[in-house]
């Protein structure tokens, strides 16, 4: 009986490894594109993004027992990615990012008109978002590379200001002000469009 238990115990170990692999691949691999996409933002070139992505997944597999089932696996992977980048990659390859202090130019941002609200439906908002593609691209294209990266690290990757500051090698206050300025530009764009479409009146 005892022998049988030990024998089955060995099998259990193998089963556990197999189970661990299956669980991990099932939970983590669907987020491969998201991790690679984020890695491209951090590393800025494809070869390094591939390295970062691979390292992230192997680290995640190694520490998979620390992942709480049912929580956000994508966020967990992105945290590993961020820490890998900060600990090993950025320090070695780039050093702190230099953030320029000059004001960026957002036409009309400082002079947002006083507006009164008219009623607008959720459908209207979705339509508004759907029709602004090119202008949003343009607005994001008009800000510096560093600011655009900060916007994406926040909106797409969901990193906190503190995490973004670590990634960029700049103070949290800089992240906050850069995001505020960039979003103000997007806000102005949305407002302009809403007025044009008669969803807002001056």
């Amino acid at each position: 009986m005892q022998r049988c238990f030990c024998f089955s115990g060995d099998f259990m170990t193998l089963d556990n490894n197999e189970e661990r692999k299956k669980l991990f691949l099932g939970a983590a691999l669907p987020h491969l594109n998201a991790v690679y996409d984020s890695a491209l933002r951090l590393a800025t070139n494809e070869a390094d993004a591939e390295d970062l992505t691979q390292t992230t997944f192997l680290k995640a597999y190694r520490f998979f027992d620390k992942f709480r089932q049912g929580t956000d696996c994508r966020a967990w992977l992105l945290t590993i990615l961020k820490n890998t980048f900060i600990n090993q990659y950025r320090r070695r390859t780039r050093g702190p990012v230099t953030i320029e202090l000059d004001e960026e130019k957002f036409p009309g941002v400082r002079d947002e008109p006083k507006l009164s609200t008219t009623s607008e439906s959720e459908a209207g908002r979705t339509e508004l978002m759907g029709m602004l593609g090119e202008e949003v691209e343009e607005a994001l294209g008009s800000i510096s590379e560093e600011s655009r990266k900060i916007v994406l690290l926040s909106s797409i990757d969901g990193f906190s200001y503190k995490e973004i500051a670590e990634i960029m090698g700049c103070p949290v206050g800089t992240v906050r002000s850069r995001l505020s300025r960039a979003r103000r530009a997007l806000r102005a764009l949305l407002r302009k469009y809403a007025v044009q479409q008669g969803m807002l009146r001056k």
Partner: protein, 111 residues
Amino acid sequence: MIDCLKASELITAYVDGELCDTEVEALYAHLDACPDCRKKLDFEREAKEIVKLQHTPAESPKKVRRRIVEAIEDMSELGCEPSLRALSAAGRRWRKHAGQSQLAAVGQTNF
């Protein structure tokens, strides 16, 4: 009470959940009295959302997926808890395939 310029700055951090309690209170007090800034808050939420909607994520090359799966298969076959040795073995295979040099970093526990 804070002015519209300050409220405008706070609105971004508010939408991102990055304001401290004192700042949230100050912003609420301003929003209660300022319909323009309440509208700005709506636009701010949309501005954050539209960046997400606009973004098309890059697609990971197939070779990256293949290398990850192969390395994990290797680690799994080696049995027991993936160890530094297992990671190192996977790394050798990985480097052999792709000439990569990053794998050594995987063994470090500081992630």
